[in-house]
């Protein structure tokens, strides 16, 4: 049995029109036994960058704290907030430091970056457990339900969705994909990130 499947859990991020969305299930299990239906695996890094960490639960907590350390140092020294692309590379290099004894996590990031002209650019990225970056233009998925997420997302996603429509699309993708995965589910949480605000909603779904 793979270590990545011990605790279960899945994350997805999608790009919309001047907005991004990131969503995850809330199950924490020990193989087939479900332990918690309130396990958060998406964390804010800055106001406009969110990081999702599916995989081994102990590494979720550890990595979250390590990134907080490194981003705090960055913010204090640079005297500005870290940008999404830079943060993605920080994630990649942190994971590669443990190339031969990795963290069992496949991070997913979503954020809004500002271009020099002041325009808004939606950003998503994901890495594998040793830090290989993937800068997709449509969506990124990770976790035990990743193949299911790929299938539904590929069928439902279209470019330039407005925030409300992006919310519906990512929610349906997550719910239907996790319903087909025994190790994901038990509650879903969705964050919609725009230039001005972040709206967080929990979804009503199957709790089996």
């Amino acid at each position: 049995m793979s270590i990545m499947e011990l605790n279960g859990g899945s994350v997805i991020a999608m790009v919309g029109k001047d907005c991004v969305a990131i969503a995850a299930d809330m199950r924490l299990g020990n193989q087939a036994l479900g332990i918690s239906s309130k396990f958060e695996r998406i964390f804010p890094v800055t106001d406009r960058i969110y990081l999702g960490l599916p995989g081994l639960a102990t590494d979720v907590a550890t990595l979250r704290e390590r990134f907080r350390f490194r981003v705090n140092m960055y913010t204090i020294k640079e005297e500005r907030e870290i940008q999404p692309e830079t943060f993605a590379h920080l994630v990649s290099s942190t994971l590669y430091e443990h190339r031969f004894g990795p963290y069992f996590i496949e991070p997913v990031m979503a954020g809004i970056s500002k271009t020099p002209s002041g325009a808004v650019k939606p950003f998503i990225a994901a890495t594998d457990l040793i830090g290989c970056l993937n800068f997709a233009k449509d969506f990124v998925v990770a976790g035990t339900a990743s193949t299911k997420l790929y299938g539904v997302a590929e069928g439902l996603w279209e470019p330039d969705l407005e925030p409300e429509d992006l919310f519906e699309t990512i929610s349906q993708t997550l719910l239907n994909a996790t319903d087909r995965d025994a190790f994901s589910g038990w509650g879903c949480i969705v964050h919609i990130i725009t230039k001005d605000k972040v709206v967080t909603r929990t979804l009503k779904g199957r709790m089996d």
Binding site: E65, F69, N72, K77, E79
Partner: protein, 263 residues
């Protein structure tokens, strides 16, 4: 006689002194003043900049980050501000150490580092440089202005020997004697931040070397508690904000030339 024992920090002189440390403190006594005052609802820090001039590029400081020119006053953590006096290069190294020490504590205990603990970490390191390795001590004195939930607002001072102490009001750098006696007269135990700001600025204007009191020569910072979130709020003032503050206190000294120009 003393010169034979100057070359290394790791040995005492016959009179029982460590000369390198004393020489370090001598270096600091020529540096720009840093003044700190503890109030019951906050701590105030002010500093005189020595590296000034028309050709200095301060564009980053004007709009960017949290203000300050990055010469005297530094944000060490969200709950501690540091003021440095002495060799700037040594100060940068110490500030970097302080910042990483604060983050290491956060990583281990998931809490903001208590102010005294941060001072201790710094002092433990500085003391090492007076006893091992044959390296010279850091030529820097620091003031730590911070807040933690255990002892609320605190002000500490540490010096090259690795010693630290807690203060209600203190001063390091040039003219610190003058400033210290001024503070001793005027300081009241239950002073509030808004009055402490005035006290600090008045003391600075009397002890600073330069004739004008303005944002080109002054760095200013305050740490308070946010009334709603109850979290410490560290504010390092931007140059424009310092000028506005000086205007409010009525301490804005105009250049003689400017006055003559308008007359």
């Amino acid at each position: 006689m003393a010169r034979r024992y100057d070359s290394r920090t790791t040995i005492f002189s016959p009179e029982g002194r460590l000369y390198q440390i004393e020489y370090a403190m001598e270096a600091i006594s020529h540096a720009g003043t840093v003044l700190g005052v503890l109030a019951k609802d906050g701590v105030v820090l002010a500093a005189e900049k020595k590296v000034t001039g028309k050709l200095l590029d301060l564009s980053a400081a004007k709009d960017g980050g949290y203000g300050g020119s990055g010469e005297k006053i530094y944000l060490l953590n969200s709950n501690v501000i540091g003021g440095v006096a002495g060799l700037t290069a040594d100060a940068n190294s110490l500030v970097n150490y302080a910042r990483t020490a604060a983050q290491r504590h956060l990583l281990m205990y998931n809490e903001d580092i208590p102010v005294e603990l941060l001072a201790q970490r710094m002092c433990d390191m500085k003391q090492g440089y007076t006893q091992f390795g044959g390296l010279r001590p850091f030529g820097v004195s620091l003031l730590y202005a911070g807040y933690d939930p255990h002892y609320h607002f605190q002000l500490y001072h540490s010096d090259p020997s690795g010693n630290y102490s807690g203060w209600k009001a203190t001063c390091i750098g040039a003219n610190n004697g003058t400033a210290q006696s001024l503070l001793k007269q005027e300081y009241k135990d239950d002073i509030e931040v808004k009055d402490a700001i005035g006290l600090v600025l008045r003391t600075m204007s009397k002890t600073m070397d330069s004739t004008t009191l303005g944002s080109e020569k002054l760095e200013f910072a305050v740490i308070t508690l946010d009334p709603t979130t109850k979290e410490p709020k560290a504010k390092i003032y931007k140059p424009a904000e310092i000028d506005a503050l000086l205007q409010k206190e009525g301490l804005m000294k105009k250049e003689e030339d400017a006055e003559m120009a308008t007359a």
